[in-house]
Symmetry: C2
Subunit: 173 residues, 2 copies
DNA sequence: TATTGTTATACTCTATAACTATA
DNA sequence: TATAGTTATAGAGTATAACAATA
């Protein structure tokens, strides 16, 4: 709707007058959504100069961890729909960052793999992520960042167990 | 892209195999965006039966706090663009929840005010918000919720001072 | 000429589902 | 008949900017 940061040159009086209702500012869910939107658009902006977006990073990051390599498995793991993934892989393949080859044992499947150029691009994506982290989490020290991650992880996992980080689910098996 | 929660009837093995890359799950920003998207669509869904959405709640909540009552002031405070606000106010006015009347001292301006019906609707919106809070924050105790709010508030305010809750800015004046 | 509110337009995302080639 | 990948289409949401009325 309107996610631009405040104009830093605006007089302070305006800034104060334009502040959001206390009722909303007191709601963690409201802030979560607003901050999430801001981060998302900040990320898109930061990735822009690479010609890719955050979703491309997600795909490369997944491939780098091995295990999931057919398009269906990748899409399911990242919770992308398969049609969307096709477009992302087209982009990546066109720039030689991934390869698609047919699975000889089931010729419907495409097995996707990272190329050396893909690994290099992934490294660059990671520096962008790091800079985004520093940018948005600047006001938090390390301990606070860890706490935030733990809280968000709890919320996410409760919403959908697929957000679980190892341990928890395995422990219940 | 795909914000549906996991199918609870899916076998656990699938759930584990489909989990997201550790690299992403370890990034607070990634979780923030994903959780934000989930909350947003959850909110839209919960509000649906009222015939309104979360944005309508924001408008009523602001009006209930007084002070900002012209359309430009409302839009600026909520960080909506003015064109979007027109549509929201149309919806609210059509249902008798707000009134628009021309400002006699500047006939370009519309002064917007809550009606009694609007106040009642706001009360209903608040129960929806409470239930959303409980739904998404269920795994957090009160202390954790307070911590989360404080951390998000820091991040938001650093990104844009208009997210500040009273105190901080006033203190710097 | 600038501002308030309004309307119309265009563009981006994304969700759906039709389609092909294999199994 | 069902599945993997692909493509096309349509719809929601949003950003842009043109517009009429006041100042």
């Amino acid at each position: 709707m309107n996610a631009k940061p405040a104009d830093p040159s605006a007089p302070l009086a305006d800034t104060v007058a334009n502040c959001l209702p206390a009722e909303l500012l007191a709601d963690p869910l409201f802030l979560l959504v607003r901050v999430g939107v801001a981060i998302k658009s900040g990320a898109v902006e930061e990735f822009e100069r690479t010609g890719f977006g955050p979703y491309h990073h997600s795909v490369l990051a997944l491939l780098d961890e091995g295990a999931r390599d057919t398009q269906a498995a990748i899409a399911d793991a990242l919770q992308f729909d398969r049609g969307t993934l096709v477009g992302l892989l087209d982009d990546l393949e066109q720039h030689g960052l991934v390869e698609r080859r047919r699975d000889p044992s089931d010729r419907r499947r495409h097995v996707v793999s990272l190329t050396p150029a893909g690994r290099r691009q992934l490294a660059e994506f990671r520096t962008i992520i790091t800079s985004l982290d520093d940018q948005f989490l600047a006001p938090l020290d390390d301990r606070e960042r860890t706490t935030l991650l733990a809280l968000l992880s709890k919320i996410a996992t409760h919403y959908d167990p697929r957000f679980s980080r190892g341990g928890e689910i395995a422990a219940t098996v």
